[in-house]
């Protein structure tokens, strides 16, 4: 190395701005050992997961203390229903948030698809199995539609899905003529969706199946790696040859399909399709995913976290209803949680990884 670099003018003026400030502070000097910083982020994240899990346990202990009916079979099965539907769709929403997108229409799509299910099963007499075989691919199609508009027209996903939200709600009301569709609900299908095996409700099993599949895909497949990259740094992903449009489309389609599955399960459990099903559902799903640790900014998140978030949302939902609060209270608390958790995550990420924020 020539002396030029070691010259006395080595006290460089790094200029203004965050980078300059960081350099002046010596944050980017390679003297700073990496190991402590690693454990700092690691500790923060591990703490966050532990904190959320602890909060969940706390809630589960507190609620029964405040209301006698919390631990009843009725309430627990109600919670089970909440958990499994939210959890199933939350798997897809996790994928979407990881790739940097969002779907605000899942509630309306759920309502639309469950009405379709009722129409196929009862009005058209096709029976539940065929209805399921139709509704799930239709769900995938709604997701694909979202994805196409997002990728091809480059319209931000929250606008697209916000527009879809009203459209599907309208369609559900139109098709059903604002009346619910109910069926007797007997037979193998209804057992496989709404019944239980060895004491475990099938709803939970379906949800866990979706979660296991989702988790494996995210952690171990090439698609999963590409999804994290697409959300973490889209330009870097694109430059590396990843087709980010395709990655996003798959996430949308997957979420749509899960909505179809959820609609099938809902109908199987309740034996009735109401056009207003799923109102406010999207908030609970998004809340579950965010509480579970998936970042709004993309590139980060786990299914396990989503599972924990789902449990917490379900506990809060049921708990509030039991405490005498109306449906409105759940929306209120979910909204509050979305913002509160979002803020906490933002601050934590900023503290742990200042290079990401300008």
């Amino acid at each position: 190395m020539s002396e030029a670099i070691n010259s006395p003018q080595s006290r460089t003026d790094y200029g203004d701005g965050v980078l300059g400030a960081a350099l002046s502070r010596g944050d980017l000097a390679d003297d700073a050992p990496v190991a402590p910083r690693r454990s700092r982020l690691y500790r923060l994240l591990a703490n966050r997961d532990a904190a959320i899990a602890a909060a969940g346990v706390l809630l589960f202990i507190l609620f029964p203390l405040t209301t006698k009916t919390f631990l009843t079979e009725f309430n627990l099965t109600n919670m089970v229903r909440n958990v499994s539907l939210i959890g199933t769709v939350a798997v897809g929403m996790t994928f979407l948030l990881i790739v940097g997108e969002i779907d605000l229409s899942v509630g309306s799509v759920l309502g639309f698809l469950v009405i379709l299910f009722g129409v196929f099963d009862d009005r058209l007499g096709l029976g539940p199995w065929l209805a399921a075989l139709l509704v799930i691919p239709i769900g995938v199609t709604t997701g694909v539609l979202n994805g196409l508009i997002r990728v091809l027209l480059n319209i931000p996903s929250f606008i697209v899905t916000l527009a879809m939200l009203t459209a599907y709600r309208s369609l559900a009301l139109i098709i059903s003529h604002e009346r619910p569709i109910s069926v007797a609900g007997e037979g193998a299908f209804f057992w496989l969706t709404g019944g239980a095996i060895l004491g475990i409700p099938w709803l939970i099993i379906w949800m866990l199946a979706a979660m296991i599949v989702g988790s494996i895909v995210l952690r171990s497949t090439r698609y999963g790696f590409h999804a994290y990259a697409t959300g973490g740094n889209p330009e870097a992903a694109r430059d590396s040859g990843i087709n980010i449009g395709r990655v996003k489309m798959i996430a949308f389609a997957f979420t749509g399909g899960l909505c179809g599955l959820a609609a099938t399960l809902l109908f199987g459990y309740l034996h009735v399709a109401e056009p207003t099903s799923g109102t406010g559902f999207e908030f609970r799903v998004i809340g579950a995913v965010i509480i579970g640790g998936t970042a709004l900014t993309g590139g980060f998140g786990t299914i396990l976290g989503t599972l924990i978030g789902t449990l917490i949302i379900a506990i809060i939902t049921s708990g509030m209803v039991l405490l005498g609060y109306s449906q409105g209270a759940t929306d209120l608390s979910t909204g509050f949680l979305i913002v509160a958790v979002g803020i906490v995550d933002l601050l934590m990420q900023r503290a742990a990884m200042p290079s990401r924020f300008s």
Partner: protein
């Protein structure tokens, strides 16, 4: 150091304009393997347009590009990479929330059973790349966002070289780094040269240019106003070429 007699990458007469703006005007450039070429010039001289053309991001309006004795069109970045031209941009194109191994293999993850990533092979390969770069890292599962600026730069370079790049183009590799880190990166660049790669660095820093470059090419107003061997010129002359004052 043996420099190959024929340039690996040779471009002649590259021109590019945007509307009324002439970004490049008939620029020639040669890149030899085993040699470091510094591309210098003031803001707006055309350096970034030139490297974007060489890495396949932009297409020249006029001009020929010859890679390994074959005339080609670098239609897109993938084509350029296939031909052995790897580029490291200033923004590094790293995914901060992913670990070192994932970044090194971004987009070309080794697979097992068709869809599943072979994480063990990836980690092993990543360790080898890091060792080859002589970079100090505790673990390949560290998140890239937590590394220092110089380490991140090394990861970006490592990813470029691991793709069998024969020519590595770097845009301001030490712009955001302090003195110590810059030295490490410059050491790395010299190491690349020793390994037989051709290196093009775009730089504003005369000290660094004169410490490691073999040849220096100066752009001004989109034109190539001079190419000098480092031993045959002085910083003064280069600066005059950059700014456009005729030498006295």
């Amino acid at each position: 150091m043996t420099v190959s007699p024929e340039p690996f990458l040779r471009a002649r007469g590259l021109s590019k304009r945007y509307g009324h703006v002439i970004a490049l005007d008939s620029v020639d450039i040669d890149v030899y393997e085993g040699e470091i070429l510094a591309l210098v010039g003031d803001n707006g001289a055309g350096k970034s347009t030139l490297i974007k053309i060489l890495s396949g991001v932009h297409q020249p309006d006029k001009g020929d590009i010859v890679v390994a004795d074959q005339a080609t069109r670098l239609g897109n970045p993938h084509r350029a990479r296939e031909l052995g031209i790897a580029t490291v941009y200033q923004n590094l194109a790293l995914v901060d929330l992913r670990d070192v191994a994932a970044n090194l293999y971004l987009g070309r993850e080794p697979l097992r059973w068709r869809w599943f990533v072979d994480k063990r092979a990836m980690a092993k390969g990543a360790r080898e790349i890091i060792a080859g770069l002589k970079v100090n890292l505790p673990s390949v599962s560290t998140l890239v966002g937590q590394l220092s600026g110089g380490q991140r730069q090394s990861i970006a370079i490592g990813r470029a070289t691991a793709q069998n790049g024969r020519v590595i183009i770097m845009d301001e590799p030490t712009a955001a780094l302090g003195v110590k880190e810059s030295r490490k990166v410059l050491d790395l660049i010299l190491h690349l040269k020793a390994a037989g790669k051709g290196v093009v660095i775009v730089s504003h820093n005369m000290r660094q240019v004169f410490s490691i470059a073999d040849r220096i090419e100066v752009l001004r107003h989109g034109r190539n106003v001079g190419v000098r061997r480092r031993g045959e010129t002085t910083p003064d002359e280069i600066v005059k070429l950059i700014v456009g004052i005729d030498s006295v």
